[in-house]
């Protein structure tokens, strides 16, 4: 257990902090004073990896050959991302990296990235060593993605080391002298995976009457109404509008054009990429408009990475990046329209009245058709860019294997909104049955189209690092040392910058490639903590043993490599908020004194907080790497146990009589995340055929060790001991029968057909004492299987990805009937509701509005979120012949690929990843060609 590391006497955190740059300077000068070695050193090109083989994986700030890895990492070649037609590269991570869980909640153009959870936590994203989340880029610029999982691989990140990290390394040019230029045109079409299945107006009205009856209220639709809905002969008085059909198209287009150039010369290597992407949304446009009201995403990217060898010992790199993302949406907003789609019944109003005006009424005055094409549009433009600059000096002349490096990165981002929305009015047509005259009731107010521009966010980030390293072999022994000092300052809008300051080091010692020892540590601070309490020390250690290098290991073994490795360390996570250690007083509810009104604002503590330290995790990782059959096959396994403490959470045992009014936020929580990760693969070739198959599977569990809960009277009420995020609720036990057989619910009088709950404590009343963990409590499992072959010019790759032991809770307006005070929609799955004739139902009796007994968290609504997807597949043909060569073309590659092709899930009514009624995930089929010069 590592609780606290004592600093040597006389060395205080403050002194280290103060003296850090001075120490570095002294160290450098001392080293410079050493006599120069007579031998000229060979430049190591860690910072200019263009010359390195791709077999050497990037790790944090350095590289390492897979055979000598002590750290636990996952690795993905950038090339693998190119078959995924999506705006975010992380969409291509799904199923490809053990330990990294992905979930996609929206398919909206420009918002279709996935959420990442690495061993249960939200990882830090770094691009070329700088903390920045740059995920909406073209995959061609990615050399590789490295996922840093254990303490040893992230310890140098200091205050941001706890959650693991995803390290994205961009391409820096060719490995050998030459020049390549390739141009890709890529086009496709997207369509929603699954749209909700609402009821027709007739079914809706029939069920609505039934639900009213269940609630003891009179029906509101007469038989004539129902007949009219069924026959459809009164489209204005009795509309039946399928809103999805009315405002959505079946397909939308996806287009992308990319140009990449890369090369390498004697003292120069470079990679340049230009990318344009256009993804259209599903909304129908209208010829009434001269502009597009569709949800639409356009992206322009420029990247240039250049490395220069200035002289034999001095090298430099400069990386430039610029990006514009232009996101269009209807003036009412894409999310708002999808919400309206899932909450508006087909009979709510006609899309258009006979006179061509928009339909509406007092309950539904925001016509969906109007929202989609007559509300103007909104445009959000995100522009960002950066410059990375680095210089590296080889000092082997002074001391063999020694180098120093300085790097700086300046990042800028701006989000601008252009509001060209407008408001519309809707009309309710009233028909006088006697005279046949129509009158119209107006709702809403029409407005002119706005034309406003505003800056939504402005941010800049300065990152700078100075490092020095030393790498040397003595016979069988080799030593590699790295010392780094870096600062990171991120400012957004008017906030004071969020700053990190870190001194970090790594030491790698290798004895004959047999015994590998590695230690890494950082002393790191964040300015959002109270002075004197800003710095923490984060050490980690690891060792690995390459057994196959031992003499006793049989030379001719079927096993080609066998390594066991282990690491242990302490990591941290700054969650200080905005100087939240200050218990801030703000305006509170005030008072109105005076004979004439004179307002006095109150002053009170906003949120009581006692955040004195950062979150911490002790991480243990044990791994095994095995390759066999002449390295054609491999198996790799990892076990991890991460014990988190000082997690920021609300105190559960804070009595209201102390008068805080709100929960006290403190460093209280303790969680444990543990699991297994397994990877295996095989690749081989025979003649023209080469093939591979590679799979990974993760079992990720968690346990709440401490949650500061009150003393509950029953054990099942405690969350402690369960998984983090475990669902809690009542246990459903069929339906209340026709005889109303005895369920007594606190605050509610059950009627037949209501969900019946189990009385856990047997006191005869269902109340909060009867809530327990519901759904599966097994650890989450996720997996991926990647396989493919190539034969002559043909190639095929398929990625299958899946999840098991995931709970989902079907709640809200897209799952429950007649929500929103009875104004909500109802769906096909409500047809099999409980009635006196249908007691063997899959859905409880219907009610209008939210039913406080049925529409609450219970096991009735929990379903397995398990699914299996053919996530991605690609067929390609590469044409390469002398004729093409004569016109300067190296090859032409034709490809067709698909995203989210097939999904297998028990859940029929919606996609297992998007439940909430948001923009559906898209299936994208696309194809294109690449010409390489």
């Amino acid at each position: 257990m590592i609780h606290a590391i004592k600093l040597p006497e006389g060395v205080s955190p403050e002194s280290i902090r103060r003296d850090m740059p001075v120490l570095l300077l002294l160290m450098l000068l001392a080293l410079l004073a050493l006599p120069a070695s007579s031998q000229a050193g060979t430049a190591t090109r860690d910072s200019l990896p263009a010359g390195d083989s791709l077999k050497i994986y990037p790790i944090l700030y350095q590289r390492q050959s897979p055979g000598n890895l002590v750290e636990s990492i996952g690795h993905l070649k950038g090339k693998k991302l190119e078959s995924t037609a999506a705006t975010f590269i992380n969409t291509g991570f799904s199923g490809r990296i053990a330990g990294l869980f992905t979930s996609q909640i929206s398919g909206e153009p420009g918002n279709d990235g996935v959420n990442l959870r690495l061993r249960g936590l939200d990882p830090l994203i770094l691009v070329d060593g700088v903390p920045r989340s740059l995920l909406s880029v073209n995959p061609e610029q990615i050399e590789s993605v490295t996922v840093l999982k254990d303490a040893l691989s992230t310890a140098m990140l200091g205050m941001r080391s706890m959650n693991g990290a995803v390290l994205i390394t961009t391409r820096k040019g060719l490995h050998k002298t030459g020049f390549n230029l390739d141009v890709t045109a890529h086009t496709g079409t997207s369509s929603p995976l699954k749209l909700p299945e609402p009821l027709s107006a007739f079914d809706y009205a029939t069920l609505y009457n039934e639900a009213l009856g269940n609630d003891g209220k009179p029906a509101i639709y007469t038989q004539e109404d129902l007949n009219a809905y069924q026959s459809g002969n009164d489209p204005f008085g009795h509309p039946n509008v399928n809103w999805y059909d009315r405002v959505l198209e079946d397909h939308a287009s996806f287009n992308r054009y990319v140009l990449n150039a890369e090369g390498s010369g004697k003292n120069l290597n470079y990679f340049v990429s230009l990318d344009y992407l256009n993804q259209q949304g599903l909304f129908s446009n209208s010829s009434l408009n001269t502009y597009s009201t569709n949800s639409e995403y356009q992206r322009y990217i420029f990247r240039s990475n250049v490395g220069v060898q200035i002289n034999p010992t001095l090298s430099m790199y400069i990386n430039l990046f610029g990006r514009i993302r232009d996101q269009n949406q209807p003036g009412s907003g894409t999310e708002s329209i999808f919400n309206a789609l899932s909450t508006t019944p087909f009979n709510a109003y006609p899309a258009l009245n006979p006179d061509g005006s928009l339909g509406g009424n007092v309950n539904y005055n925001n016509n969906i058709y109007g929202q989609s094409v007559l509300s103007g549009y909104m445009n959000e433009v995100y522009s960002d860019g950066f410059v990375d600059l680095g210089l590296k000096k080889d000092l082997s002349a002074l001391l063999e294997g020694w180098w120093v490096q300085g790097a700086i990165s300046y990042n800028l981002a701006l989000t601008q909104e252009i509001d060209r929305s407008k408001d519309f009015e809707t009309f309710e047509m009233l028909l006088d049955p006697g005279t046949g005259d129509t009158t119209y009731n107006r709702f809403g107010t029409k407005s002119d189209q706005r034309n406003n521009s505003s800056i939504l966010a402005r941010s800049h980030q300065l990152y700078a690092a100075g490092s020095t390293g030393f790498s040397r072999n003595w016979g069988e022994h080799s030593l590699d040392a790295l010392l780094m000092y870096n600062i990171d300052s991120y400012s957004i809008d008017s906030d004071l910058p969020n700053r990190y300051q870190t001194l970090a080091a790594r030491l790698r010692y290798n004895i004959g490639n047999k015994y590998l020892l590695e230690a890494a540590a950082s002393y790191s601070g964040n300015n959002r903590y109270e002075e004197g309490n800003r710095f923490g020390l984060f050490p980690a250690f690891g060792a690995a043993w390459n057994m196959h290098e031992e003499d006793f290991f049989p030379e001719d073994s079927w096993i080609s490599a066998l390594k066991i490795r282990a690491s242990y360390g302490l990591t941290g996570n700054a969650v200080a908020g905005y100087y939240e250690y200050i218990n801030r007083y703000g305006s509170a509810s005030g008072y109105y004194f005076g004979t004439s009104v004179s307002r006095v604002s109150g002053r009170a503590l906003q949120v009581p907080r006692d955040i004195s330290t950062w979150e911490k995790a002790e991480k243990l990782n044990i791994g095994l790497d095995l390759s066999f059959a002449g390295k054609r096959g491999f198996i790799s396994a990892d076990y991890y146990r991460h014990t988190l403490k000082d997690l920021v959470q609300a105190r559960g045992r804070s009595s209201a009589i102390l008068g805080w009014g709100k929960d006290i936020i403190q460093n209280l929580g303790k969680d444990r995340y543990s699991g297994m990760e397994l990877q295996a693969g095989w690749n081989d070739r025979s003649g023209d055929l080469s093939y591979y198959i590679s799979g990974n599977m993760t079992m990720a569990g968690s346990e709440i060790l401490f949650n500061d809960e009150p003393d509950y009277p029953y054990n099942w009420m405690y969350r402690t001991g369960h998984q983090v995020g475990q669902l809690f609720g009542y246990v459903a036990d069929g339906f209340v029968g026709q005889a109303g057989e005895g369920m007594v619910m606190e605050g509610y009088q059950p009627v037949p057909g209501d969900i019946k709950y189990r009385d856990l404590n047997g006191d005869g009343v269902i109340n909060q004492f009867d809530r327990q963990a519901i759904g599966t409590e097994k650890p989450l499992i996720f997996y991926g299987l990647d396989l493919g072959f190539s034969w002559k010019g043909f190639s095929l790759s398929v990625l299958v990805q899946g999840v098991a032991n995931k709970n989902i809770m079907l709640t809200g307006a897209r799952q429950w009937e007649f929500q929103n005070d009875g104004k909500g929609q109802a769906y096909q799955h409500h047809l099999d509701r409980w009635t006196l004739e249908n007691t063997d139902a899959t859905y409880p009796r219907l009610s209008v509005g939210t039913n406080i007994s049925n529409h609450i968290a219970s096991s009735f609504w929990v379903r397995p979120g398990d699914y299996l997807r053919i996530k991605n597949a690609e067929i390609a043909y590469t044409l390469q012949n002398s004729w093409l060569g004569q016109v300067g073309i190296k090859h032409v590659r034709l490809f067709v690929n698909g995203l989210n092709l097939v999904t297998i899930s028990d859940l029929k009514r919606s996609d297992p990843e998007t439940l909430a009624g948001t923009y559906p995930i898209q299936r994208i089929i696309s194809g294109g060609l690449t010409v390489k010069f």
């Binding site: 209220k217 100075g466 007083y585 009150p710």
Partner: protein, 585 residues
Amino acid sequence: MKKLSHQLIGSLCLLLLVMAQIGCEKAEDFLDKKSTNSLDETTVFADSAHTMDFLGGVYHGLFIWRVSGPSNGVENILVAVTDEAEQRYPAAGMLETQILTGSFGGTFNSYINDSWSFLYTHIRLANIYLKHVDGSPLSASLKKRTKQETRFLRAYFYARLMEGWGGVPLMGDTVFDLNSSAGGGRNTYAECVDYVISELDAVAPDLPLTYSGLNYGRVTKGAALALKARVLLFAASPLYNGGSVADKPELKELTAYPTHDPSRWQKALEACQAVVDLGIYELETDNETKPGNGFYEMFLERVNKEYILAYMMGPNVYLEQFNMPPSRGYWNSYHRCPTQELVDAFPMLNGKAIDDPTSGYDPANPYEGRDPRFYYSIIYNGSLYFNRNGRAMKPVWTYEGASPDGIVPVSSGGATHTGYYYRKMSDEQIPYRGGGNTNRCLPIMRYGSLLLDLAEAANETGNIPLALDQLIEIRKRAGIEPGGDSMYGLPANPSQDETRELIRRERFIELAFEGYRFFDIRRWKAGDIIDEKYTHGMRILKDGNDFTYERIEVRKHVFKENLYLFPIPFDEVSINRDLLQNPGW
């Protein structure tokens, strides 16, 4: 050597680069905060304006029982639990529906819990003020006065806690820090009464009698004496005066005085008398403009002679937004609908009860010739009220089938369930929509309520004539005709029991919708007024220009014995096992 100097220059360049990145700042300053715009405890009390603002936040605690809850104010909720009004929403999840159907279990709805927390939060704020005000730059006299105001407010919060829960934990002057844990149990009811009375006795002598200008609305000497009277009235009342519903002896003394002592009424009477003796309050009376106009105007005046303590508000339509009929409010309005029980409790203009054959009540014209307060409290079929359409006084029609204000069944929720709408304390020229704002503040204690308290205490001590005098005062102001005997419709020589009934009925109508009824029924231990009884409404049918009237049952209300005290929040008793739960929860 040349080589070395190259190396040196190169390395120094790199180093300079690193230093340049840090910019002009010194490394040790890199993580330092450059400024702060946030207030903390120290800065608030270092500034006199912030200090006075802080006290404004303590005053906000007077809003208790009116704070926004699930249906916009617990007064709406508790009103609808009693026989005063029906609540519009039939939804099963509403707290009042749970209470009046008897399914409230104490853990399901957070509203009562929030009130507990709200009061203790304001007690803490008061203690923070008392702890820091001496170090603030306020003048010595202001420090002294505001400390007395704060101690009053703290006593008021305890008084409301005691009305809700009985004896509660007394926190003293301690400001607990973030790591304090709640220990200890509830203080006995007697200890709580003693504490609150001693605090009020301590601050009353020096508090100002009145304020002017910007300070109007602050706590006065009269408020301290009136609160003392109210606490002692509760302490003398049947539920607390040896009448606990608890079985366990340890719970008995937490929830009430363990034994009955009739002399507690005498203390309450003396405390009420002390307020009267100040001689500065009077019933706002104006029967010249029109009968009962003083009763009407009093609620609309920000500054008036009757309010002893009010929740001071800015210009508002706070009550209108919840209570106006659909035609005068917005479509989602009309939260509470007065019951026929309340309507029938109003006497005739001659002061006689409608069931008195000599009263002149005509069931075919039930709204004719009634107590003027009736017309200022209730909107009935044909009441005139300002309508923004036409910008004129127009009738509100509540007969069956009238759109949009006509009576509808409980299950509908579309308009009144009783045939009546609420209008007390409202300006007939100011509906929710289209009429501007009122200057109304909400009365917490007024001279009218104090006189009724006095009447009750007098009657219980056997001084019936003194009790009747107070009722006559109240009725005189209400605009009721004195009658030949100058008894304003009251019987000549009522017994003590009859007088008690007269007082209770007078409270019912005079203090309707002011937040008294629920707590009065509890302290009288008179749950049977409500329990298993239907509330009624008036179904009116229109036939040409004539109306016919039919009393209808609206909803049956349940008042279980455990409702005499609220449940202590479940989490509180889980965290602190010494905190004993109230009986029946």
